[in-house]
């Protein structure tokens, strides 16, 4: 039997329930373990084979040799499509996908991330 207002009971039930909305960003969002977020680079283990750079679908990643067997990585986050193919291709596990996804920036320059080569002083750190 068709009748208007079949959803009334459901609608009234919702009044007693907590809203389903996740109050992001006041409550941080947790991504699952396999999430493909920002890629991090471990310069210490990189051997500069260039597999990642060759197959990156959007050319977001470049590995530069800065000294003898020392490599730095430059990521263009505005080009990266977060497929994490580079992570799968890396034989030395120098690349890893993180769960970090809040990558918005005001300036395009901020989206260029440099992971310096090991001897170039500090630990590899993120956004400049």
């Amino acid at each position: 039997m068709k009748w208007p207002g079949k959803m009334a009971a459901e609608a009234l039930r919702q009044l007693l329930r907590r809203p389903a909305t996740v109050p992001y960003p006041s409550v941080p969002a947790q991504m699952p373990e396999r999430f493909r977020g920002r890629i991090v680079f471990d310069a210490a283990t990189c051997v500069g084979c260039g597999l990642c750079e060759r197959d990156c679908p959007s050319g977001a990643l470049t590995i530069n040799e800065v000294g003898k067997k020392r490599y730095e990585a430059v990521f263009q986050l505005d080009r990266c499509l977060f497929c994490a193919l580079c992570v799968d291709l890396c034989n030395k596990r120098s690349l890893a996908a993180t769960r970090e996804f809040e990558l918005a920036a005001v300036r395009r320059g901020d989206l260029r991330v440099l992971y310096p080569a090991p001897a170039a002083a500090k630990e590899s750190d993120g956004a400049a």
Binding site: M7, A11, L12, Q14
Partner: protein, 316 residues
């Protein structure tokens, strides 16, 4: 001098512009919050309607090049003024309204129709195809819900033998049980009100997915803010009207009791309106006309018949 001051006070504060605007914004908040919670959402904070209003006031106002500038500009003011004026004749916290005279029930109805007419004229004057179609729809709709609404509002008048809202309220203070005979009328009025306030399922005039914003498509900035405020005020005025005509109980109690009672009645009306718009889909124009003439108008006739018979019985 005091009379002038009192009149000014009534005009600007209570039950004039300030009260109506505050009430309208509060009504919008209640409606939006209930709508959101019934959809399992959080909904806006209490100041959201006010914030929207203030924001719109500060926005740039664009008037289409081909629009009739006078009509385009005047209509939001007319809508707001008409809706606010109607409040003067409605008994709020007691059986007697600020302004009362024989026939004020019809004046209130007329004043409540003016906003719809102003939407029509405003939309028509803006010459955009979306607005024109919205205008045509709002006018067509008007004929569908206005007649049943008028009929059910006449019914208590027939019973009370008065064409004044205050007169009706006074009558039902004396005959509280008789007011129960108007409950079918209340149901009809609630549905008709959805049409008057252009809410789902009768929001054809501003059906977002079909004609963008309908009559309001070309409005922006201040004028849009006034139009939206007018709709809010109309909601609170219409809810007050229904509360005083169909739920007239307890109006002669002391003020400390009538104020919460009034709020309760208005909130109850707003709740039903919010529920209806949450669970129904928008009807098409011809479906709406069919519904109003096939179901709503006969129901209103029935209410009229009940009232006539009862009135006949009383006079005997």
């Amino acid at each position: 001098m005091t009379a002038v001051l009192a009149a000014l006070l009534a005009l600007c504060v209570f039950p004039g512009l300030l009260f109506a605007a505050a009430g309208g914004l509060a009504a919008e908040f209640v409606d939006r919050k209930l709508h959101a919670r019934m959809q399992n959402r959080v909904g806006p904070p209490w100041f959201q309607p006010l914030a929207d209003f203030v924001k719109l006031l500060s926005k740039e106002e664009l008037i289409p090049g081909q629009a009739d500038r006078f009509v385009f500009r005047a209509m939001p003011i007319l809508a707001l003024a008409a809706a606010t004026t109607a409040l003067f004749c409605i008994p709020l916290f007691g059986p007697r309204a600020i302004s009362r005279f024989e026939g004020d029930a019809l004046v209130v109805l007329y004043l409540l129709t003016l906003p719809t007419l102003s939407f029509f004229l405003g939309g028509w004057a803006s010459t955009s195809p979306y607005a024109s179609i919205g205008s045509m729809r709002s006018l067509t709709q008007l004929f569908a819900y206005e007649v049943p609404l008028l009929m059910v509002l006449m019914a208590p008048g027939l019973l009370a033998g008065s064409w004044s809202l205050s007169g009706m309220a006074l009558f039902f203070q004396a005959h509280a049980l008789l007011a129960l005979s108007n409950l079918p009328g209340l149901c009809v009025a609630l549905v008709a009100l959805l049409g008057k306030l252009e809410k789902v399922p009768f929001d054809l005039a501003e059906a977002e997915t079909e004609i963008v914003a309908g009559t309001f498509t070309e409005y922006s900035g201040r004028r849009l803010a006034f139009f939206r405020l007018a709709v809010d005020v109309e909601a609170v005025v219409a809810a007050s009207l229904l509360a005083s005509v169909f739920l007239p109980w307890g109006l002669s109690l002391p003020l400390a009791a009538t104020v919460p009672l009034y709020l309760f009645k208005v909130l109850a009306v707003l709740f039903v309106l919010a529920l209806l718009r949450t669970i129904l889909a928008r009807l098409r124009l011809e479906q709406m006309l069919e519904f109003c003439w096939k179901w709503l108008a006969p129901a209103a006739m029935l209410q009229l018949l009940i009232s006539v018979l009862l009135a006949g019985g009383l006079s005997r």
